[in-house]
Amino acid sequence: MALSWTYALIGGVMIGLSASVMLIANGRITGISGIINGAVTYKKSDTLWRLIFLLGLFLGGLTLNIVYPASLNNELELSDFQLVIAGLLVGFGTVMGAGCTSGHGVCGISRLSTRSIVATVIFILAGVLSVHFFQGAL
């Protein structure tokens, strides 16, 4: 799609705006891995907002499914085994590294956090090497 980069930019601005609402109103980072990890840890007064956020994310997904279903297409022919390994690594790694693409890549870099800049460089480089060496190999 020739205009795919304009969609990417518009989507990016929306992501930046939503994270900004979270920051300005609730004083929090919109880091999805941290929100999920906190949601599966029961802690009174800190669990509900996380579950509600995840519900919002899912409702957003349902809206996409209705108005723009192609946006949820997964055209990769991956084995279930590869998906399981990928999921395990992403879950383990994002909690260990205290963040993912949203928390480190968007929110952290925006705050010029050195930790987030280092984390983002590492996970993008690791992703490049992973695609190069493992994609299609498992």
Binding site: V13, S18, I29, T114
Partner: protein, 146 residues
Amino acid sequence: MSKNNLIALIVGYLFALGLGIAGMTQPQKIIGFLDLFSEHVSWDPSLLFVMIGAIAVHALSYQYVKGKTSPLFSSEWYLPTKKEITPSLIIGSLLFGIGWGLGGYCPGPALTALASFDKKPAIFVFSMVVGMLLYRGFDKFFPVKK
């Protein structure tokens, strides 16, 4: 519903729409970005534009809140304060990147894509939550500096 919870709902919803419009919920686009060395497919720069758009907006918001004593609907800030580059940060990000390249999903897009009712994001999300829980066990027995 409290104001904080309503904000969480709205932010989650808009965030998912942003991810979908940006193309981030299509793993083939992530792999197309990370596949720098490919000779047969053209590089997909989408992720770069997503990050430019998101960071440009969010960096301004951060500058705006910097001098404020508290957020609008909370009495305190919940922002990370750590500065040190630790082994945990490096190893964790490395493992995350490897998994990202394998599956083409990071946490937000995977959760959003659950709404396609396709089994691929479902398998991924289930495994991701298991991975998060496994880390807790690992951290108990082999603590690495966080």
